[in-house]
Amino acid sequence: MLDLPLVGALVATACFGLVVLYGASGEDSGTVIRQAVRLAMGLTAMTVIACISPHLFRVWAPAFYALGIVLLVMVAFLGEGRGAQRWLDLGFLRFQPSEILKLSLPMMLAWYMHRSSLPPGWRQLLVSLVIVAVPAVLIARQPDLGTAMLVATSGLFVVFLAGLSWRLISFFCVSAMALAPVLWHFMHDYQRGRVLTFLNPESDPLGSGWNIIQSKIAVGSGGLFGKGWMNSTQAHLEFLPERSTDFVLAVLAEEFGLLGVLLLFALYLYIIGRCLWLAGQAKDSFSRLLAGALGLTFFVYVMVNAGMISGLLPVVGVPLPLISYGGTSLISLLTSFGLIMSVYSHRRLLNRY
């Protein structure tokens, strides 16, 4: 049921992550063990999902989507968290409903696209936009703009892969750019601050520009070969913030140099390529679109995080997939790989749509 080349690449990347985490956490084996346990849980979840037929996901997609929306609405009223309301406490567990949307939104859109003949036209585009906008607005209001954009992107990939005409795509892009000032108007002050700091980090070197400056110093001082494992001065002198979570790539870049970064990129590129290939093998459009969109979404995570670490993109709270310390995102990520593999391994069963 599992696609061994993909599993191999995922495990290799995650193990690389554990090695980096050991250095980044200040040689704390507890951190590494906790992360390894989560990795094992994630791989188990992935295997289970891979064994389930995508037919089942398709049937349940609308219900799953609706559940996610209901939970998001609940968060708006009952959620907790410092400053932002992102968490839902069910007594026995606490989680971010936005994680569910990372899977259920592309599933819903794939289900919707699957219902009619492709490529989609105007009408499908408009309905899709509504399906995307409802959860995206709810998440953005938490406020968690980063996740909202990622979730929205995963949905738009489905539409893109379904073959939306280039004319409509360009029209859509132009409209989105025209709406940027409106978005700016609705942003929170701290979000605007992040954008302004991104444009000129030196304007506030002790405050919000700190992260970007220190991160770039870490990356740049790593050089071609790096300072060596556990030799990150930026991290060990605590110049680098959140060095085990969102900024772990800066530690990797400082300790393993450009070669380490390129190795990681190569692994990521292989994973993405493999996902798209697996998706292409599926026989029905639901499976194809879902798997393809999940693969491309994974790429966006990498792009946003690597862009932020190197100062190409503003700082948003996005972890580096498979490397950053933290459980929820790792598990939902591996679950999505489980979905992709399920699509591939059940392709013959779904010959008829």
């Binding site: 009619s116 003949s117 492709l118 490529p119 990939f157 893109f160 892969l161 379904a162 073959g163 506030d204 070197p205 002790l206 405050g207 919000s208 770039k216 110093i217 870490a218 990356v219 740049g220 001082s221 790593g222 050089g223 071609l224 001065t233 930026q234 002198l237 605590e238 110049f239 870049a253 140099g257 450009l258 970064v261 390129l262 990129f265 990521y268 590129l269 993405i272 390529g273 798209l276 998706a279 292409g280 026989k283 459009s285 194809r288 679109l289 393809g292 491309l296 790429f299 792009m303 690597a306 862009g307 190197s310 190409l312 749509y353």
Partner: protein
């Protein structure tokens, strides 16, 4: 495309081909982005490597934050109420201290550092970056500075740094107005912009220091410094000096304030004096006060507990937050309400026989004077504080009209003065009682509301403000303590006045207001005026006043209140509101003396004394005191 009937005939092969084409395009874009990212990392790690390696090595070159000087606070005559004085504090830069605990222990032996200092240091350290200096002990004396200077080389990362500390020259006289600054703690750092407070050790905790923190603080400066291995600063590379905070120029007259504070003597209580019309607060006193300077240096736990647990509650701002039954001080507003609502006319009289009864009810609402006052009109009703007149008036007017009219004077809601934490008091109404007690309004409650008893609760500030509105003939600005914020005193009319809301009573007829004021003048100057004792010397000005008594405990209907037989803490609160000169008032005030007994005996003389001082009358006697 042929129009399909219902389900379109799907071209599975074509759909798969479309997907594959899109997936390939997508992958191409992915590769392109990875190429861009790789290029960016190549640029940072190979091309700019030398620059960044220097910057990483150069962690010894640091940004040091420079604390701004806090703005000063001055009274209306330029007397300084909050000043800055140079002092020295001991600071640690945690990153540069090799063994923190050992160093703290050694420093403790050398410089008498308390456990509280160390606890605060650890809390503060967590909220700041490891290269930022964290204060350990403030206000070092000269001997300590000298002792440390000798041993300085033993303590890398530790330094004595000059800073400005806050001093309140008038101490407890203005503690409740000016407030104080206290040491910035980790909680404060979470609520402020930590960059802006990177070098600041104190923050406004209460009073104007807190309410105007943003303006007083100023803007942090930045210095780029070169340091050696031990972290000692070798030279300054670049400097952006700190911008000092704005000064506050208050409406307070500190002479009047001190006199008001002294006038209460041993009593607890509150006094608020306001300039009618403008709403400028001339004095705002809550007795007892406390020494704000003690809070700046850091109070010991025992001292703080003593302040908190004191039965006299020195930390409680009675002027702003104290709630008192207004008693008879409400009568002028009731009288005006009656006139304006057409319940009584200027020439309406009634017969006072010493009690009032609601039709068909046995209960007698008694006057303070047995046998009554005889024939009473509105002026006499105020002069002699005739309860029965107001029982009758209130019962005829009804609680809805009373509430509607008195609301215009600002009773039952905060005045909006520029201090935090103002209490709103209670101006009872049907809706209020339903909402808070879930009960309907009873006619008997209207009767006692007419003499300011029952549910009525006001703050001294509200009383003073309402009296200022009346004194200014129906229109007065929102009470405020800060006249001007800036670097120089406001130049009179050239100064841009801050737009403030104005309290205005609707459609008050001038002759109605004058009649009420005549009644209040008679209180002080009349033959039978309830406070005539304070004008027995025939002062060269006319003042208007009204006494009041706030019950502390309820008497049974047939009990007599004999002041001397009641223990002091159960005695009634004495109230007096006044303004002068009556025709063109420049001061309106409210005096509340807790457990002072009747309003005219204790509170009224205080009001007279303050008005004398304000109008420059009898200053010789005051100076002689």
């Amino acid at each position: 495309m042929k129009a399909p009937a219902r389900k379109p005939v799907r071209d599975a092969v074509r759909e798969a081909a479309i997907f594959r084409a899109r997936a390939q395009t997508g992958f191409l874009l992915v590769c392109l982005v990875f190429a861009v990212l790789s290029g960016r990392y190549f640029y940072l790690q190979v091309i700019s490597h030398d620059e960044f390696i220097t910057r990483a090595e150069d962690n010894r070159v640091k940004y040091r934050a420079l604390a701004p000087n806090r703005g000063l606070i001055m009274d209306r005559n330029g007397v300084i109420l909050a000043d800055n004085r140079p002092a020295y504090r001991l600071e640690l830069i945690p990153e540069q201290v090799p063994e923190l605990d050992a160093t703290l222990a050694e420093l403790g032996e050398l410089l008498e550092i308390s456990d509280a200092d160390i606890q605060r240091f650890h809390k503060l350290r967590k909220a700041r970056r490891s290269f930022q200096a964290v204060p350990l002990k403030l206000r070092l004396d000269e001997a300590q500075v000298a002792r440390f200077a000798v041993d300085r080389h033993h303590f890398p990362g530790v330094d004595i740094v000059p800073y400005q500390t806050r001093v309140y020259p008038l101490g407890e006289n203005l503690a409740h107005v000016v407030g104080y600054v206290g040491q910035l703690d980790a909680d404060d750092l979470r609520s402020v912009d930590s960059g802006r407070y990177a070098a600041t050790s104190h923050i406004g905790k209460i009073g104007l220091e807190q309410a105007y923190e943003n303006m007083l603080h100023g803007e942090v400066g930045r210095e780029k410094v070169e340091t050696n291995v031990q972290g000692r600063i070798l030279r300054s590379l670049d400097k952006a000096p700190a911008q000092p905070g704005h000064n506050l120029y208050l409406t307070i007259d500190s002479t009047l304030q001190q006199l008001a504070m002294a006038s209460l003597g041993d009593y607890t209580g509150a006094i608020v004096a306001i300039e009618p019309g403008s709403g400028e607060v001339l004095a705002m006193v809550s007795q007892p006060g406390y020494d704000p300077n003690a809070f700046v240096a850091g109070l010991s736990v025992a001292d703080y507990q003593a302040l908190i647990q004191s039965s006299r509650r020195p930390l409680f701002n009675r002027a702003l937050r104290g709630g008192y039954e207004p008693g008879s001080t409400i009568k002028p507003y009731m009288a005006l309400a009656g006139l304006e609502n057409g319940i009584i006319e200027l020439d309406t009289t009634m017969m006072s026989r010493g009690y009032f009864q609601l039709p068909g009810q046995p209960r007698r609402y008694r006057d303070w004077k047995r046998g009554g006052h005889g024939e009473v009109d509105v002026v006499k009703a105020l002069e002699e504080s005739v309860n029965v007149f107001f029982f009758d008036l209130a019962s005829k007017m009804g609680i809805d009209a009373i509430h509607a009219y008195l609301d215009q004077f600002g009773f039952g809601r905060p005045t909006g003065i520029d201090l935090n934490g103002e209490a709103k008091g209670i101006l009872p109404s049907r809706a209020w009682k339903r909402a808070t007690m879930g009960e309907p309004w009873y006619p008997g409650e209207t009767v006692i509301a007419g003499i300011g008893q029952g549910f009525n609760v006001t703050t001294p500030l509200q009383l003073a403000h309402a009296s200022a509105v009346l004194a200014a003939r129906g229109e007065s600005g929102q009470p405020h303590l800060v006249r001007h914020v800036g670097f120089e005193p406001a130049a009179g009319d050239a100064d841009q006045p801050v737009a403030r809301p104005v309290t205005r009573i609707s459609a008050a007829r001038a002759d109605h207001i004058e009649a009420v004021i005549d009644g209040m003048i008679a209180v002080v100057h009349g033959k039978r005026g309830s406070a005539r004792a304070i004008a027995a010397d025939k002062p060269p000005f006319v003042m208007a006043g009204k006494s009041g008594t706030a019950q502390v405990f309820g008497l049974a209907q047939d009990e007599e209140y004999v002041e001397d037989e009641v223990p002091r803490h159960l005695r009634d609160h004495a109230l007096f509101v006044a303004f002068a000169p009556a025709d063109q008032p420049s001061i309106a005030l409210a005096v509340v003396v807790e457990h002072g007994g009747g309003g005219s005996t204790v509170a009224a003389p205080i009001a007279r004394q303050l008005i004398d001082a304000h109008l420059g009358h009898g200053t010789e006697e005051i100076a002689a005191q």
